[in-house]
Amino acid sequence: MTLSEEEVAGELGPAMAAPPSRGRVLARRFLASRQGRAGAAVLALMFALAFAGPLFSPWSPADKDFTAFLAPPSPRHWFGTLQTGADVYAVTLCGLRRSLIVGLLAALVSTALAALAGAFAGYFGGWTDRVLGWAADLLLALPAFLVLAIMSPLFGAGQWPLFVIVLALFLWMVTAKIVRGMTISLRQREFVRAARYLGVPPVKIIFSHVLPNLSSLLIVDATVNVSAAILAETSLSYFGLGIQPPDVSLGTVIADGSRTAIYAPWTFWFAAGLLVVTVLAVNLAGDALRDAFDPAAKGPR
């Protein structure tokens, strides 16, 4: 048996029972599950590959090797080359980087939106609640794919931040409804009432008392949204409706590769494999995180 840090600190410090911090408890629970360890490790690997991987290759995504068109993997081109002579390794990692960034940003924005919309609707009630509820219903009635496709001409080259925002606009509704319900019940709790009677302004109550109490839900929601956003982004980009050339994402790489996949499998399988492994890792980590926050609701849902 090993002494963990807080046990040592507890023996040395004057106050005996300093409770372990919540973050540390969560981390221990998270890492105790095999899913969590595997998901986190693979995800870390993907990030390392996406951001540090290109440093080890002499080729950049824009380079074309005119001596090797559609060449199979070799020491010169680790993942082979495309029909244009572009290096698959460089292009795929560039796409992976963009897909990871888009997924993370869209998830963060949508969770923030869900938290704000849900908390304001639940706390203020009345017209705020009604208007936000209508907005959520409206966005649920319009398929996200449809609106993103309609707006795709606006996401030209270099406009991917706009795409991220529109993507996030379609991921917040369901969580917002959950947050709203929880806010309504939090509103009746003593500490929120006390803050209100002390004259703390409502917006400050939401940010310092309501939202911190929903942090576990929000963190888990953000992880779930990362995989949803990555899947949506790659599917739309595949058809030229999301990230558009000359920007690269895993979706555009897979679209290019699928045309030559039958006789040049390396153009398709590396990108497709990386995408599936990334989403799988995010899902595994998300499930483990949920279990860590809420051990009572153990098991995949």
Partner: protein, 328 residues
């Protein structure tokens, strides 16, 4: 109940109207039909382009709101306007709706039946080998986007044609072979051969979702008192599970089925596009690229209607199946 239903129906209709209007305004603002004429040689005179666009109600010189009123007036009379090539949108979409419906219905039925069966079997032996296997497979399937799954299905089909069957059994590209004229049965067989891979693609994801859902519902039901009662009165485990467990656990699945059906109208777009089926979703994607505002708006209208009808149907189905809802 009737009052509630009426209010619910009215709300849905208003929501559908607002959603469709919003989709039209978005499409009219984001798409640029004038660009279709820019690359033509010889360059048509601007006045002719204007007249052509105005005739199709696509002229961006007319105020957006005026175009919207013209469009909305047409839709209320059942006229969805004309596409950029001048053909009526309604006729085109009617034909395509049949194609989409065939694919979606078959995919959804396959997906839900197999998914429910897999989920029920997994729950009956919790933590058994089948439970673990199906959980792992479902996990994997949920991580694969449709575009990858469809391409893998095509690659797998090609491989199977070459190495297993030795001839072309699984066909890709369109819903039937173009120009095939070989009688009723051969024609049907040909359609079936084209149907297999898209249906598999569409249903695999659904199987994963439905099996997880059904498994958890079954596990909730398995611990219920009435199931113990059924066993106590002498039913075998299998009969108690099927007649009392499965039937109760199916209620939420039925409502979920209706809901998924609504979203699949556009959700099948990726599958349709990759397999070259000329359905609604495929049309939507091509209409965006040809700046076809009226077609995009019409499909959005249908999609919003489908979602709302489906959620209404889900509620009604739930009320019809679950006696507790009826009583309350």
């Amino acid at each position: 109940m009737a009052g509630f239903l009426a209010r619910r129906l009215l709300g849905s209709v208003v929501l559908a109207a607002v959603a469709a209007s919003l989709a039209y305004l978005l499409a009219a603002a984001a798409l640029d039909p004038r660009a279709n004429y820019a690359g033509r040689t010889p360059q048509p005179p601007p006045a002719a382009v204007d007249a052509q666009l105005a005739a199709l109600n696509l002229n961006d010189r007319t105020p957006l709101f005026e175009r919207y009123l013209t469009w909305a007036g047409g839709v209320l009379r059942g006229d969805f306007g004309r596409s950029v090539t001048g053909s009526p949108v309604g006729d085109d979409l009617r034909r395509r709706a049949g194609v989409t419906l065939r694919l979606v219905l078959l995919g959804l039925v396959c997906g839900s039946v197999l998914g429910v069966a897999a989920g029920a079997a997994a729950a009956a032996r919790q933590y058994g080998w089948f439970d673990r296997l199906s959980a792992g497979l479902a996990y994997l399937l949920l991580a694969i986007p449709v575009v990858v799954l469809a391409n893998v299905a095509i690659l797998g089909g090609t491989w199977a044609n070459d190495h297993l069957f030795g001839r072309r059994v699984l066909l890709v590209g369109g819903e039937r072979s173009a120009g095939l004229d070989a009688g009723l049965w051969a024609g049907l067989l040909d359609r079936l051969q084209h149907l297999i891979l898209p249906t598999v693609t569409l249903s695999l994801g659904l199987i994963a979702v439905f099996s997880r859902y059904q498994r958890n519902l079954m596990l909730d039901v398995l611990g219920a008192d009435y199931l113990r009662t059924a066993r106590a009165k002498g039913l075998s485990r299998r009969r108690a599970l099927v007649r009392h467990g499965l039937r109760t656990a199916l209620i939420p699945v039925a409502t979920y089925f209706a809901f998924v059906f609504g979203t699949l109208l556009t959700g099948a777009a990726f599958t349709e596009k990759i397999f070259g089926w000329h359905g609604l979703g495929e049309r939507l994607i091509s209409a965006v690229f040809t700046n076809d505002v009226n077609t995009v708006a019409a499909i959005s209208c249908l999609a919003a209607l489908a979602v709302l009808c489906a959620s209404l149907a889900a509620d009604l189905l739930h009320a019809a199946l679950d006696p507790r809802v009826r009583a309350g």
